[in-house]
């Protein structure tokens, strides 16, 4: 069974239909891209999947259970993690603290246990810190644990966001433009990291991406949104050849001339 099955998802803001009847099926262990011109509704679709917006219509089945309309923290707890298009780290917290926040739902310390420093807390806390360091190492931030998030260079902030998302112990990770604003070298490294998420951690990945080189290299399937509707879906080579996609990106004239 597919890990994620979104069916006929619609979300509108007043008169604007941001996501219109979009369906998306994601198989376990795959890397799937969602592409489309600016304002096509990709991020809104992500926000619906992660519970930041409630869908007006449609169903979202994740890992066998419906998650449509649940709160974001509940959805995260069930195994969907995400990063943000415009990096949203906890700027005045250190790298390791950012990751530790991601573990919130996986830690069990209750208030009275913390106040009395019960044995379980004394075990849990150092273990969580060790795990957080491991995750930071995995994304390539070894030794920068105590750096404030806002002081990290841009590329490292993107990595930290991924580490923080990994800390929630997800099955599915949604990456919103993970290579935006990166130079070719950084983009290459980010692409490798995304592949390692799947190959080494066994995660399923959905990414929104504008860099077609990245999209075409790593995704197994691509869905294309335009004006809130899904206009195409398929393997990279199929999408490349799809006239409607070319039209959406370059305009009608370009598509005809092609």
């Amino acid at each position: 069974m597919a890990l994620l099955e979104a069916k006929n998802v619609t979300k509108s803001f007043g008169g604007l239909i941001a996501v219109n009847n979009v369906s998306l099926t994601v198989e376990r262990g795959s890397i799937v891209s969602v592409i489309g011109p600016n304002g096509a509704g990709k991020t809104t679709f992500f926000n619906v999947l992660t519970g930041i917006y409630k869908p007006d219509h449609g169903s979202i089945i994740f890992d066998g259970a419906s998650i449509a309309g649940q709160r974001p923290d509940q959805i995260t707890k069930q195994g969907i993690a995400r990063t943000f298009q415009n990096i949203r780290l906890f700027n005045n917290m250190t790298a390791i603290e950012n990751v530790l926040v991601g573990m919130h739902a996986r830690l069990n310390a209750k208030m009275w246990q913390i106040i009395f420093q019960s044995p379980s807390v004394r075990v849990e806390e150092p273990r969580a810190r060790a795990r957080a360091r491991e995750l930071l190492k995995f994304v390539g931030l070894e030794g920068r644990y105590d750096e404030l998030a806002k002081n990290l260079p841009y590329g490292d902030q993107r990595r930290l966001e991924i580490a923080r998302a990994l800390a929630t112990e997800p099955k599915l990770i949604l990456l919103d433009e993970p290579t935006a604003g990166m130079n070719p070298q950084e983009t290459l490294e980010a692409t490798r990291l995304i592949q390692r998420l799947r190959d080494e951690l066994g995660l399923t990945v959905i990414l929104i991406e504008h860099d077609m080189r990245v999209v075409m290299t790593i995704s197994e399937r691509i869905s294309v949104l335009d004006y809130g509707e899904k206009i195409a879906e398929g393997k990279p080579e199929e999408i490349r050849a799809n006239a409607r996609v070319v039209e959406a990106y370059l305009g009608r004239g370009a598509a005809v001339a092609d």
Binding site: P72, L89, E97, L100, E125, A128, A167
Partner: protein, 438 residues
Amino acid sequence: MSTTSLPNSPFAALNRGPLAYIALTAYVVVTSALMLMNTRTSLGTDVLFVLFLLGFLLLYRANVANGYKLALGAIMLIGVVPYFGTMNAYYIELAIQAGIFVALALGLNVVVGFAGLLDLGYVAFFAVGAYLWGIFSTDQISQISPGASPVSPQWFYLFMALGLFVGAFFGVLLGLPVLRLRGDYLAIVTLGLGEVIRVLAVNLDRPINITNGSQGIKSIARPPLPDFLRALFPGLDDPQLYQLFIYALALLVVGITILTVFRLKNSRIGRAWEAIREDETAAVAMGVPLVRMKLMAFAVGASFAGVMGVLFAAKQQFINPPTFDLIRSIGILAMVILGGMGSIPGVILGGVLVTLLDLQILPRIATELGALKRQGIVIPDWFDPAQYQRALFGLLLIIMMIFRPEGILPDQRRREEAHATEAQEMPEEAGAGEVKPA
């Protein structure tokens, strides 16, 4: 920061190594001794008292073993202050007031500093605790349900625990309607809710007389003096013993409060609060349940105020609504901001500093100016120093916000962690820099 500038300053040697121990001990001994020799309430004693308190700050900042810091601090708090207090009641009263407000500021710091929820009605929870003990320990209770008699003063300790829960309950109650609000809107609504509690205290004398209205509640019971205290200090009279007793209780509550907020801050819950403060949307997307965590912050913050309210009522033996007005809330917020939002040592300092300014330093300046005027120094007639205390306080706040908006002792834990290696290397680097390469 001063930690990095210290190695170059002439006082560097005083801040580390064996000399630091000697210097600190000497400072504390000298200020303590001078203070204990000048027990009359006067400008000189005021200055000595402040210098003595400054010892705590030096102790906190010095590079000496933590055990030594704790030991010296404990001697000052448990030995010197109470002893001095038996000689001059005014100063131990100051210390008690400072303790009460430090606990309140620490509680508000959980809400404002940790979770970033601007709360302008915090004093309401203090009022709830105070009225709780005020009503149940006096005849006021028989006004509510005829036939009921006040609880025995022995029950005071139970009521302190009860104050914790009642405070937390009201924290949640007033937190619920404001969950969706942020920033300015949150501040305005909490301000309103805080005033609601005060206005209730004024008006709940009819139809059933619960709070005795604007007259307030008189002759509130104090917990009975423990026998050992009397045995320990046979030479002291009851008022003095009571002050020592209340001081000890306040110190205990403050100690527990500090330990609690410190542990919470460095925990899953404290990190969740900070995450909410930094970015609500990101926090919730990382699995932090917003509603529960915000209510928890309100409850924890309010519970400290509830406990201190109970103690405050027993100390004052009289409470009335104006004690819990908006200015009080703003005062507590000023302690948090002045000291450094989110920083536990900062907020403690802020609490002590604002209390001293309010009760000691500013009135003292006013008295001294008044005395000068009477001696014929020309101070214009329109300037009545006593009237300008608040203005001076406001001016101080403004100056602070311009030159040090992050507070006097900003949150340092992370900064020190982040630069731990740098700070260690610093002295060698600074030393090496002075020797010019040949």
